[in-house]
Symmetry: C2
Subunit: 214 residues, 2 copies
């Protein structure tokens, strides 16, 4: 072992590779933005040379694309446990309220918002990346919610004629306002207001789709 915990000089290089390199680069992009992140900085954080970084990713653009696509793949089925919980909830009001809080937490997470802003800002230059992000982060999760609402319709817990539309309505009732505020740089919405927004979303949702009066 060299001094100061510096890497050994034998065998495999001590710098980060593969998934670890991607994680470090993601952190840099989230912290510093696309323009603010230099390949030098990514290489520095990963403990490798710029030449090594360029051997893994041919350009800064391809690194950015890889980061977003990796992120999207990880978040694709994020709502699944919460949807299973909704199907086994004793009370539909409680179940939906818990679900809205889960959706809020997922959408309004600080890193989720930063990644979303990056993708949106660069959607002109990276249309395919943005499309994949939209499909993986939003479309697939809302479709899964729609399927769950359809099942609750079959059980006659809810009356949902158009599950896709209902899923979008619940989603936007729960997160539209807070997402807009945080997207535009306002600080985190107070958790009491978030809770209140979630309850209000469920109330309105059940006025339309509830099998019994809410």
């Amino acid at each position: 072992m060299t001094r100061d915990g510096a890497p050994r000089r034998r065998g495999r290089p001590a710098g980060l590779q593969g998934g670890e390199l991607l994680a470090v680069a993601r952190r840099a992009f989230l912290d510093l933005g696309l323009a603010g992140t230099t390949m030098n900085e990514v290489a520095r954080r990963a403990g490798i040379s710029k030449a090594s970084l360029y051997r893994e990713y041919a350009s800064k653009d391809s690194l950015f694309a890889a980061i977003v696509l990796d992120w999207t793949a990880r978040g694709r089925d994020a709502m699944r446990p919460a949807l299973d919980a909704l199907l086994t909830a004793d009370d539909i009001v409680d179940g939906l309220t818990t679900l809205t809080h889960t959706i809020q937490a997922g959408v309004l997470d600080e890193d989720v918002l930063r990644m979303r802003r990056l993708v949106a800002a660069e959607s002109d230059r990276f249309p395919d990346v943005a499309a994949e992000y939209l499909a993986g982060s939003w479309d697939s999760n809302i479709a899964a919610l729609a399927e769950t609402l359809a099942e609750l319709d079959r059980r006659e817990t809810l009356v949902v004629d158009d599950p896709q539309a209902a899923a979008e309505q619940l989603t936007w009732l729960a997160v539209g306002g807070p997402l807009n505020r945080q997207t535009l740089g306002a600080g985190r919405v107070a958790s009491e207001h978030l809770t209140r927004t979630g309850i209000d979303a469920v109330t309105t949702f059940l006025h339309r789709y509830g099998a019994v009066a809410a």
Copy 2:
């Protein structure tokens, strides 16, 4: 007159100033983004020298801030005519449906979306500009809608216990999904789907806030 319609060489400079300069610069930022817009390009489009441009705006950042604040001021009372129309509408369903379409058109306009993306992407570096944008473009318009809903409650056309919450709900039911898609670079949402979303928004809204069954 010089050849090719080039500016005269006498009297006031032929280049743009003040509001016209701001409009030209705004167009550049909307077309090319913040990083993509150079001060050389702005000067070129305005027909002035870079030195003249820097005499009006001390930095690229201050030019950006001026553009966003000017834009925000122009859009502050954008919804007023539509809200007045709602108050004089014969039928509340028709009135609200028309309003949702107006909100959609205002929010989903291509330039509005580009400006929004610029502000969101730069909200870390320009927190005050982003806050002013949020206040002028969203808060003031939603507050005006809330006031209108409160008036409709007094008339017993609607039953609105919390006008602010109701205004947010109607807004996000109408534009949440389409705004999300377009923000993330998907093409314009089909107008039939937009219409359908607006009608669906009003239906859900009236299930909760309608004085009579919708």
